[in-house]
Symmetry: C2
Subunit: 374 residues, 2 copies
């Protein structure tokens, strides 16, 4: 059973069914342009991460403004992007399992597809699967530059793994994946800068080691919305993988600029639209959007258009707001825009973006890669 979209094109925002996922098109387009401009000043290219939006309609707009392609985290995301017209996809993650590899290779017949590895046995499986399909697949070595997640150690370990790729005729060594995910949400500018300085140094050392061994890196990829300016200026990274900048969220909104002020480089363009559905006592109101309409892993959403209201609790289908004096008159039926705590896993719950400009629904974009991806 597929739910109909929560809106129709031409409808006023106030008539959109709730909960709905709203894109403020003016803010969204401003973010796309802002990033394109920032990247154009550097020697790097943009390969934005599609795990944020999971939507080819967004990816096509990024490519139109200069992005070389997109990153994906899952084969299913890559399938959705290629089906939606994207011609160059880097799966910035390890892909394990016979059927997933088969699907990845099928996709490599339709578009340029690259994948990351951090394990020699995985390289062997990729090589055999590609050889059986008479394909040559681009493979990057992921190195751990401080995120403590996936990735081999920079330096010799990375070189050894790169060599196993280069030795396989069905694979092509295509570069390094060096994303410092943990740096993205360090609040202070200087803390982010230090973390990325470390990542840059590790990546540079590894590149030199590889080069000395005759291995060139076509792609040196990394960076996120919190740190991309550092990687862009490094002269080491040549592809920037920021994703959240298109939408922003409450968590990224808490990052600070160099002078300690709030970051305003990108505008909040993504909102969960919700209705006040109960106000049983003074000072408390319930919204019809809870844990099944927004991820709270990075904190509760903030209320965008009502200063004196705060989400203090969430259950499956409710968010509980405390109302200060300025919100005391809030009435049942009022619809509010919330800024989700974390955009990516919130987007993942929805089937549609309701794209709004000037208070009117201008477009509906299906989130074709939403859900649990294989």
């Amino acid at each position: 059973m597929i739910q109909p979209p929560p809106a129709q094109i031409g409808m006023p925002l106030e008539e959109v069914e709730t909960p709905a996922l709203i894109i403020d098109l003016d803010a969204f387009e401003s973010n796309l342009a802002q990033m394109a401009e920032a990247v154009a000043k550097s020697t790097a290219k943009l390969r934005p991460h599609a795990k944020t939006h999971k939507c080819p309609a967004v990816a096509r707009r990024q490519v139109a403004l200069g992005a070389v392609g997109v990153c994906c985290q899952k084969v299913s995301e890559a399938e959705a992007m290629v089906a939606g017209g994207i011609r160059d996809v880097l799966v910035s993650n390890q892909i394990v399992g016979r059927r997933k590899l088969a699907r990845l290779l099928a996709l490599a017949r339709e578009a340029r597809v690259a994948v990351c590895v951090d394990d020699a046995e995985n390289v062997r499986q990729l090589a055999e699967a590609a050889a059986a399909e008479h394909l040559r697949l681009d493979v990057l070595v992921e190195i751990d530059v401080g995120a403590n997640r996936c990735g081999v150690q920079p330096g010799k370990e990375a070189l050894a793994l790169a060599r196993t790729i280069a030795d396989r005729p069905s694979l092509r060594f295509a570069g390094l994946q060096a994303y410092q995910g943990r740096a993205q949400h360090i609040r202070e500018w200087d803390g982010r800068r230090q973390a990325i300085d470390g990542a840059i140094a590790k990546t540079r050392d590894t590149l030199e080691l590889l080069r000395a061994d005759g291995l060139d890196c076509e792609i040196v990829g990394g960076a996120g919305t919190g740190t991309f300016a550092f990687e862009a200026a490094s002269g080491v990274y040549n592809e920037l993988q920021a994703g959240s900048y298109v939408f922003m969220d409450a968590d990224y909104g808490r990052n600070l600029k160099r002078d300690g002020s709030a970051n305003d480089e990108f505008r909040q363009s993504l909102f969960v639209y919700a209705t006040v559905m109960s106000k049983p006592v003074a000072g408390r109101a319930m919204l019809d959007a809870g844990l099944k309409a927004m991820s709270v892993d990075s904190g509760f959403p903030t209320v965008a258009d009502l200063a004196d209201a705060k989400v203090v609790r969430a259950s499956d289908e409710h968010a509980v707001m405390e109302l200060g004096p300025g919100a005391a008159n809030l009435s049942i039926g009022t619809k509010l825009k919330l800024v989700p705590g974390h955009c990516d896993p919130t987007v993942n719950m929805y089937d549609w973006y309701v794209c709004v400009r000037g208070g009117t629904v201008e477009a509906l974009w299906p989130i074709t890669a939403r859900g649990v991806g294989y």
Copy 2:
């Protein structure tokens, strides 16, 4: 774009694509039977909450074992249940907005539908919508028995609202909704009992006040998996709305019995199935299931079939596990069963249940009400 199911019927569990949502059918059926037996000993009936499973195939099995119907939290859930053959649905929540009311009333032509209110203006809107459709809709007054969420105050406030329902020819006053959600996860038995004793007293007092005013309650509903035995024995509640008992989760697993031991009344039947996709250093491994495959609002999942592995962090598409000595030999490609922290919002992310018995996929059930419900 709809993803194909992650499994085929007859497939061994080990071949199921990950992340997948697994139902252990033996444990699931044991839970259904255990609850049916417990409720049969009381004067109450079971009206399990379908917000947990969002799946008519599960609801039909509950009804076959004696449930009078189901609860839903959203009109979209109710639509999915009626479409799947359920004939009696209580929307245990407030429904606000013209189009949602229209859909609720359309549904009331196909099945017995009831809805909750906690606001006189909402009663007026329901009454006018029902009158326009020449329907008579069952309406319950929700009272706040300690959850501090929706619901009018017990006693006089409830009576006043019930009177506004009874005064409307297009509505029928059908009873009280009196769910104490906050009591469900109090760890100690005695704490749960005290909280429900309070809810029972408030509900009883309100029932007496209503009765003195000539208003009978066909339904007195409430209770969840953590407390239903108390409501069942109360002689006050006549419908029990537990939902999570069909699956259980890590959070409910932390509730204690009267003697302080771990609760073992219901078995864990729901699992997120995940693959080890990276093990870059000794003592750490990554699973391919993160924030988009399980809700972490009630804590990280536990690893079901590996004692010495612990999920310590989750990002969009990864769970990071720390491995003790007993899990040191874990290899990339191994698939593990995780117990989600909170079953309801985890289920909500998936399109399919992969139902397994004796290590083989026996059925695939579509989760037709999954996603953001309107």
